[in-house]
Each structure stands twice: as C-alpha cells, then as structure tokens.
C-alpha cells in the first residue's frame, strides 16, 4: 500500500509494480523506483541504525551521497553494503538494513547510546588496554563492520573489463554533460558519455525547470535521442566514472546491463580530452539531532517529490543558509505538502528566493536548535542565532540545505588543485593539470543556464568548433552565507558532521583540544569521512568546523585527499573475465596433451610452463615413481620434453664478440657444428643464466637459455645491442617455439635413436659430445644435439613443433623394447643433483658466483672484459666469507635432509654456516645425497658437518659436489 505515492507524475511506471521485501516485510514499488523511493512511498521512515551509537536513522539523500541508509541485498542481487538510494528496485528484491539486530526498530546495539558519554572520538586509544586488547577485540570486531560479506560468487553471469578509446569523454549526463556530448558528437568526434544514474538528465530529473520554454526533460529526451543517432557516440547510463588515472585514463563501471550475461563491465577509457560534468552534491546543516529519521536533504525531498512522485512528509520545515532550498519549498508546496516555515540562518534573504517562497512564512536569521521525535521527526525548535525568539514548530519532515559542493572527486584524482570559493562557501576546481575541464555544477556553475553554457564551451574548445546558440533556460540565482554548525544558545545534543560514522561537532572539538589539529589528524582521530559514503555530505562541514575552531580560513585547513574510487566498485568488475584457470598465463608444448593422457602430475615449472613433474604408474608412491624414472635413465633409457628451453637465433658479423661479451667463457673459438655450455652474469657479478650456445654457421648462432630466464636473457641481449652497441651487426630472433625437442638419454639412447632410422651418423666419432648435426630423424627434419643434463649419453632431437607430437610417439614406440620411460622434472632434478650440475633455482640465491660453485674454470682469463667480470673480481677481493658448493653424504644413508635446511657449527643453535640446496634419493648409490652451500666448503671436504633441524641434528660428510661418474665418461660415450 504505497500511501505516500502521488497519483500522477514522476519518472516511475505505475503500470509495472514491483514486489520487494525489506527487513522481512513485503512491499511494492514501481519500475523506475530506487529502493529508497519505494520505501518512502510505503512510508517506511526508520530504515537504519548508525555505526557507533546505533541511533535510529532514516533516508537522508537521494543518490550516492546517502550517509545513513545502507542495505544488504539477498538472493540473486546478493551484495554487501549498498546505499538504498542507489539500488535500482527490481521485482523480488530482498533487502535488509545493515549493522542492526534484529531490526532497525528494535536494535540491541542501541544500548551503546547509554554509554555515549564514555565513548567520544578516539576513546579506544585510551582504554581496552588492560589486561589486553585481545580480550576486547573479538566483541569489537563483531560490533564493527556493516553488512555481512558475500558468501559466494554470483551464480549467473560474469564480469567483464574492456578497453575503450575516445576523443572526448564526458562524465555526467546532466544539462552540462548532455550539452557537451551534443556539441562534441555533432563535431564528429568519438564521444564516450557516462552517467551514474539510471536515466539521463541529472539534476533536471529532480527539479521543475524549463529549457527553451518547455519542460527541461523534453530537451533531455530530444538530446538523448539525437545522441542515439550518432554512431560516433557511446552513451552509458547507470555507469559511474570511479577513477581518474594518469595520462587521461579513466575507469567507468557499467551496471545493470540489459539482455547480457555480463553483470558489470569496467571500461578503461583512454580519452583525448575529459569533460567533467559531475554536478554538485548538497551538504547538510549541522544542528542538534540532525540525524533523526525525517531529517532530509532538501534536494533529496525535491527528487522524491518530482522524480519519484513520493510524498516524503505531510508537513515540513525547511532549514537553509542559501537560496536553493526555496525552489524546493515551492515544489513541495505545489505538490500539496504543507511547508510550515523556511528557517534561514541569513539575516537578509534575496528577493529571488523570497519570490519562490510566496506566502510561506520565513524566519530570517534563525536556526534549528533541536529536533523532537526519536524514531521520527515530530517537530523542531527554532530560535534566532543568538538564542532569542525560540519557538516550536510541529512537522514530520525537516529539510535542510547547507549549500552545494561541486563533485570534484575525479578532478582531484586527476591531480587538479582545489580552491576555496568564498561566494560559494565551498571548494571548487582550480587549474586543471590533465587534459580535462570541469563544467556545470562540478565547476561551481550552479544555474541551469551556466551549466548549458559551460558544457557547450568546453566541448567546443575540445573539438575546435564554435559554440552553438544555446537554448534559453529558467532563470536562477544562487547565494549563500556559510553556517558550519549551529551553536546558538539552547542548541543541545549531538550535532552530526558525519552521520554514518557518528562523528559530532564535539568529537572534532576534542580532537583539536588534544592536538590532533591537521585535517588528516581530525579525520583519522574521529573517523569523520571514512565511511562507505567517504563523507560526501559531511567533509566540507568538518573542514569548516576546524577552520572556525582554529580561527583560520578554510583554504588553510584544506581538504583530505580524494582517492579512488568515487563510489565503491565491486572487485569482480575490476578483475573482468580473468579468473580461475586464466588468472595467470600458462604455456603448453605439443606433448602436454600426451602427458595428461598418460596421467602425469603437472605443475608450474617456471616461465608459466605447465610441465610433468612425474608419471605415476598404478598405486606407486611418489618416491617409487621418481626412482623408476631415474633407474630407466641410468640403466637403459628415458626421454623428456625439453621444448620449454629458451632459444634464440643470432645472426650478424659481430655475433662472436657479442657472445664473448655476454658469456663468462670464450665462445668465439667454437667451430660450426660445435656447442658449448656457458654462463651469463649480470653486470654486478651475479649469475643471470646458464645455457648452451651452438655455432650454426660463420655468422649464425643458436643460443639456448634456461626455461625460467628466457625472457630475461632476451631483454638483456636486446638492451645491450640497442643501447650499448647500436653499431654492432647482430640480429636476435626468438625461436623458442620454432624448435621443440625430445631428449633421449641413457646407456641405450644411441640404439633408440638409431631405431628411429636417421640419416645422421650417431657414432661417437662423427657426433661426439657437445656436437650437433642436422638431418632427419624418423623421417622428420631434425637437429640432433649431443648435450647432457643428466650425465648420461644424450641425444637432444630438435624438430619443428608441427612434428613434435609425431616424433614423441615414434620415440616411445622405438624405445619400448629398450624399456624407455618418460621422465618428469622430479627425476631430472635427481639426475642433475647426482652429477652436481647447477640448478639456478636451487644453488643460486643471489650471493654465489661461479667460483663458489666450483666453476672457476668457466670465468675466462683470456678475455679482458665481459659482463660481470669486474664485479666478481671486486667482490672476491672483499673479506666476506664465501659459501661454496659441496656434496653431502648423510652419515646415516637413510636420512633425508629437507631442502633449505641450515648448517650450523655442531648443529647448535647458532648462526648458520650454510644450507642444504638439494637432497635426493640416489638410485645408483642407494642412499640420500645432498648438495649444500657451506662456508669455505671447498677446503672442508672430508669434514663432518651438521644440519640443524627443529628437534634434531643430522651429521653429514662433506665431499666434492658430484656423486656419479665424476670423470663424465658416460655422457661422452
């Protein structure tokens, strides 16, 4: 029963009733309603409880500025906090007031009001200390917070984030924004127009103004229709611009999309020029009990009456310090609402305003000193500013207007400075620093005519066109005399500056008394402006109150920083479609499918490659699997997919000297057909990467890198060539994905490759260790390379990816009689540890150099200079004790040492002298073996050292870091 709904008028569709629940009760509203307007239509006045004192609250505003009524939505629309004034009513919607239990009517938390005197601003810094915070915290946590957190992601639909580009981005589709969009659109520019409301028109929706002698909304409709016809214009409603980033990049969050599976879309709009037509927000007045249900912003009441055909009260008093409230009063009266009086704190009231008031009694120079009624306004007490002439006026609605604040949030985010304007008694945009212009209310241009004018001017300037003739608009004027808070004698009780966080004038006074006297201190000490609404209606009053208390101009107090977002935006929209499997990139080789079919355990193995860790058979335990794979390689043959290794083809006259510069060892001496293992350092002497370089021809090389550092090495080479050696003739082409490889390794490797039938002579004489040959394998064009990362005889068969899966399957066939096994990363790790081969991820941790690793031989002495040489020499001349790579044999061969475990003298609780970098079960030695970095380790072979674990120590014997085939006969065989 919407008994507060006018029979006609408004922007709602009476033909489309919508049923909804609020705090368990059934109501109906109409299409076009917000939850707030529907509640008011149903005469629901008490809609919320406040954050700290749990005082009864009603609906205060009509848009995102709403400080009081936050709701939590259930069911399909489930979401945490929402201002009731921004919730577009939908059929079947279910909403609850936040932060009150069981209901705003009967709220247990209200007991806090009894202690109100005990809990002023910052009280928690002074108490809850004894015996300890942990005793109080759980209770306080429960009391705090607003809505419950969402329990699950939305079931239907998904979010999207998308890029957009525009010559002109217009934020706000009020009179100024629409006019700007029309001008820019007609000029043929790509225009992006976004407005946070459900329909275009901005403040015109709330008011009764005329453009070109007709209702302003006709002009709005025509303008929207014209924009519709322009293919170069993108026009979004219910879309909030929430962030203004560097280089004119703005974020726009589009909601309630029609017939789409997209719930919300976040546009990243890059604009040539930005026109900020974000309007202005009315601020309240600060007087005792200014938070009672039925105390409402004047502009909000005007919106409910005109836009939603809702009667917010039967009898109202209007309290103002400026002219705009007079138009409100006249609109309300025209709708049959009894306006008992206009209370104006100014002594002199302009005729312009008086004309609006007509026969409404005006009390000039007077203020509201109190409000009667706890759960609903029953009347107000009014008196002169000096306290004389007190009178009581009965009413069920108190409207107030403290003036207008330009919505400068985005402008401020763009780094534009604000300036305090005395005539408007608020902060307005000063000089812009990015390519943007503020127009209309956002620029402090508060009349309709000036909104249209400034909008057109900005767009004309942005597009280099001339300003069109502007339609005539209703005459308006605006003047104000600031009133930061009412302190007339007789004004008693809490006067709220921040209604949501329950911050009163006394709280600000206390902060100042205690020395928290910068605006940031006050904000943090009182939490003023830190609520869900981020103080859209209250902040300037706080600044004004501070200025008044300290007796300094507002300009000197300044504002707190405006940070994104302008209004809260869901994380889902920010994330877009990136979720689950695609939240991080992943890479596959042509063999990945085969691995998965084979039941391989796959995991991330650097540079985003998903690789097989091991290939379990039947009910094998992990270690059994790894042992089986290792045994295959050591005793017969195994194969692994080496495709992810980084590969680059280098070409040019200066490749030789270039490689000699980036590798620590000499490369230029290689002959075509030969390859060499090499080490790269950073300029400060740390290990960058290791890999194999092959000379393909006189001026052609193929450089391979570790999987993890392929991109790093690519950048390293390109940077040197483009910045340090621009005149060197070297071309780098990444070919990581042009060459896949399957590496066949083990004593039987030669037989297996031979069985694949190949035109390459595999004999050790023709194709010895560290050589390669081009030809065919299994009928596929291939390059066979004799490198080994396992210590066994190995053939790395490189083919084009289009042939890789084919090659792989042929190898498995041909290897079958020899007992071939696919080998995963885990077994490869064991095999390289047995050989003491370097693994960047394990042995290299940002401090060791080649000498520490026993690889001094790779630091060329012949070359005068190469990247990192000087730094390594410099570092080694220091007196820091070096941690050197050693092998460890646990004294008890069956004891495994956790990788990363520290070595301490005698295993005691003392600073470490090293750490275990790897520990594996060696199938050939039938025991655990480990690698470690140990202080002066190279000179401590034969010593027994101790690993310190939490409740144990492990003794281990130090030896050279190679456990298998130290002479390297097998891999050379």
């Amino acid at each position: 029963m919407q008994d507060r709904r006018f029979p006609t008028g408004g922007r709602i569709d009476r033909g489309q009733p919508l049923a909804f629940r609020f705090n368990g009760k059934e109501y109906t509203g109409f299409s076009g309603d917000t939850l707030a307007s529907a509640l008011l239509a149903n005469n629901v006045r008490l809609t919320a409880r406040s954050f700290k004192y749990h005082r009864p609250r009603g609906i205060v505003g009509s848009g995102p500025e709403e400080p009081a009524t936050l709701v939590e939505l259930d069911g399909r629309h489930a979401s945490a906090n929402q201002a009731a004034t921004t919730v577009r009513l939908e059929d079947g919607m279910a909403a609850r007031s936040v932060n009150c239990w069981p209901s705003p009517g009967l709220d247990v938390g209200a007991v806090n009001q009894l202690f109100a005197g005990l809990i002023p601003a910052g009280f928690y810094y002074k108490t809850f200390k004894w015996p300890g915070w942990h005793l109080y915290e759980p209770t306080i946590r429960k009391a705090a917070g607003l809505a419950g957190a969402p329990e699950a992601p939305p079931l239907d639909g998904h979010f999207e984030a998308v890029h957009a580009h525009a010559d002109v981005l217009v934020v706000g589709a009020g009179p100024a924004g629409l006019m700007a969009a029309l001008v820019a659109g007609r000029a043929g520019r790509r225009v992006f127009l976004a407005d946070e409301r459900i329909e275009a028109g901005g403040s015109l929706l709330d008011r009764r103004l005329e453009i070109a002698g007709r209702p302003a909304l006709d002009w709005v409709a025509e303008s929207v229709a014209e924009l519709e016809t322009m293919p170069n214009v993108t026009h979004l409603q219910d879309a909030s611009a929430w962030a203004y980033r560097e280089h004119n990049c703005l974020m726009v969050n589009e909601r309630s999309l029609v017939n789409s599976t997209v719930l919300e879309r976040n546009w990243r709009v890059r604009a040539g020029r930005v026109i900020l037509a974000t309007g202005a927000i009315e601020r309240g007045l600060v007087f005792p009990q200014n938070d009672r249900p039925g105390v409402m912003l004047a502009s909000a009441a005007q919106a409910y009456v005109n836009r939603f055909a809702v009667k917010p009260g039967e009898r109202t008093v209007v309290f103002a310090n400026n002219d705009s409230a007079y138009g409100v009063a006249s609109d309300l009266r025209a709708s049959g609402i009894d306006v008992a009086a206009i209370v104006d704190s100014r002594d002199v009231i302009p005729d312009f305003a008086r004309n609006f008031a007509g026969d409404i009694p005006i009390r000039a120079g007077a203020v509201v000193v109190g409000v009667r009624g706890r759960r609903a306004v029953r009347g107000v007490a009014v008196a002169e500013r000096d306290g004389r002439g007190a009178e009581k006026i009965d009413c069920d609605l108190l409207l107030h207007s403290g003036g207008w604040n330009p919505t400068v949030h985005l402008f401020s985010q763009s780094r534009g400075r604000l300036r305090y304007d005395d005539s408007l008694a608020t902060f307005v945009p000063d000089e812009a620093v990015q390519a943007c212009a503020s127009v209309g209310g956002a620029a402090g241009e508060l009349s309709l005519a000036s909104a249209l004018r400034t909008g057109a001017e900005a767009a004309a300037k942005a597009t280099g066109t001339k300003i069109p003739d502007l339609p005539a608009a209703t005459e308006e004027s605006y003047s104000i005399a600031p009133l930061w808070h009412v302190d007339a004698p007789g004004a008693k009780g809490k006067a709220f500056l921040d209604i949501q966080n329950d911050v009163t004038v006394d709280d600000v006074r206390l902060a100042l008394i205690e020395g928290y006297d910068s605006v940031e201190h006050v904000k943090r000490y009182t939490t003023g402006g830190m609520g869900f609404d981020q103080g859209k209606t209250g902040n300037v009053n706080i600044v004004g109150t501070i200025a008044r208390q300290k007796g300094v101009p507002l300009q000197d107090v300044g504002t707190t920083t405006f940070r994104p977002p302008y209004t809260p935006v869901s994380f889902g929209a920010i994330g877009g479609i990136r979720e689950e499997s695609v939240v991080l990139p992943y890479r596959h080789t042509p063999v990945t499918r085969w691995n998965l079919d084979r039941g391989a355990f796959m995991y991330e193995a650097g540079a985003r490659w998903r690789r097989p860790g091991y290939f379990p058979c039947g009910d094998e335990m992990f270690q059994e699997t790894v042992n089986r794979e290792c045994r295959a390689v050591r005793e017969c043959v195994g194969v692994y997919d080496g495709s992810p290794l980084g590969k680059f083809e280098l070409k040019g006259r200066d490749v030789d000297r270039f490689l000699d510069h980036i590798y620590t060892n000499l490369m230029s001496t290689l002959k075509p057909g030969q390859c060499r293992y090499g080490l790269m350092l950073t300029e400060d002497g740390l290990i960058l990467d290791d890999g194999v370089a092959m000379r393909l021809g006189e001026h052609r090389w193929l450089v391979s890198t570790s999987t993890a550092h392929a991109d790093t090495v690519h950048g390293h080479m390109d940077e040197l060539l483009q910045t340090q050696f621009p005149d060197w003739n070297v071309h780098v082409t990444p070919v990581t994905s042009q060459w896949n490889n399957a590496t066949v390794c083990g004593p039987k490797a030669r037989e297996v490759v031979a069985a694949l039938d190949t035109d390459i002579d595999l004999s050790p004489e023709e194709l010895p260790f560290m050589r390669f040959a081009d030809g065919h394998v299994a009928g596929l064009p291939a390059r066979v390379v004799r490198v080994s990362f396992t210590g066994e005889l190995s053939f790395e068969i490189n083919v084009a990816p289009r042939h890789m899966r084919d090659l792989w399957e042929r190898i498995m066939e041909a290897g079958e009689p020899f007992g071939i096994e696919p080998v995963g990363s885990e077994a490869s790790h064991v095999l390289r540890v047995e050989k003491g081969f370097l693994s960047l991820g394990h042995e290299v941790d940002g401090t060791v150099d080649a000498h520490d690793l026993g690889m001094g031989w790779i630091m060329s002495k012949k070359k005068g200079d190469y990247v990192g040489k000087r730094s390594v020499e410099l570092r080694r001349r220091g007196n820091a004790i070096r941690r050197e790579l050693v092998g460890l044999l646990p004294v008890d061969p069956n004891v495994q040492i956790p990788e990363g475990a520290p070595l301490t003298p005698g295993g005691e609780t003392r600073p470490t002298e090293g750490l275990v970098t790897a520990c594996v079960w060696s199938v050939v030695l039938d025991r655990w073996v480990a690698l470690a970095l140990l202080e002066n380790g190279q000179s401590r072979h034969g010593e027994t050292v101790h690993v310190r674990l939490k409740n144990a120590t492990v003794a281990a014997d130090v030896m050279a870091p190679v456990f298998y085939d130290p002479e390297g006969r097998k891999m050379r065989s």
Binding site: R245, R415, D711, G715, D718, E719, S871
Partner: protein, 85 residues
Amino acid sequence: MMLIPCPFCGHRSESEFAYGGPVKPDRPDPHTTSDEDWVEYLTTVPNPLGPVQERWWHVKGCGTWLTIWRDTRTHDIVEGPGDAG
C-alpha cells in the same frame, strides 16, 4: 596506465612495455676505473623528485628499447624519444 611514446609504433599502453630502469652513465672502462666509481656506477642511480631519464622495452610491441624523461611526481612524460633530438 601510462601512454608511452614509441618511436616506431606511436603512443602505446604501458602494459605493452617492460620497464628498463633509469638511464645510467656510460659503462666505465673496467680496466681503468676505480673500485669506488665502479660500485657507484652499479648501485647508484639518479633518483630525482622530478624528471628522470629512463628506458622502456616495447617487448609486446616492436621490440624497441626507448628512452623517455618521466616526472616521478606526476608520471607526465616531459620528453619522449622523438623530442630527444
């Protein structure tokens, strides 16, 4: 997200680039330079409250290593590779 002027591609989104660090002086001759100067060269970069000369690698674009002057207070690119002359 900045718009970075690439001499080959024109203005492109920052996400196409990899940061290459502030521009250092030329690499000193490792044979003649003192330890102090070498360490200074490696560890100490200009860190101005204002324009800094830095490199970006257009790794997802044309592969160019480019140099710009960017104001560290605002992210404004006060001098692009084109204007460098």
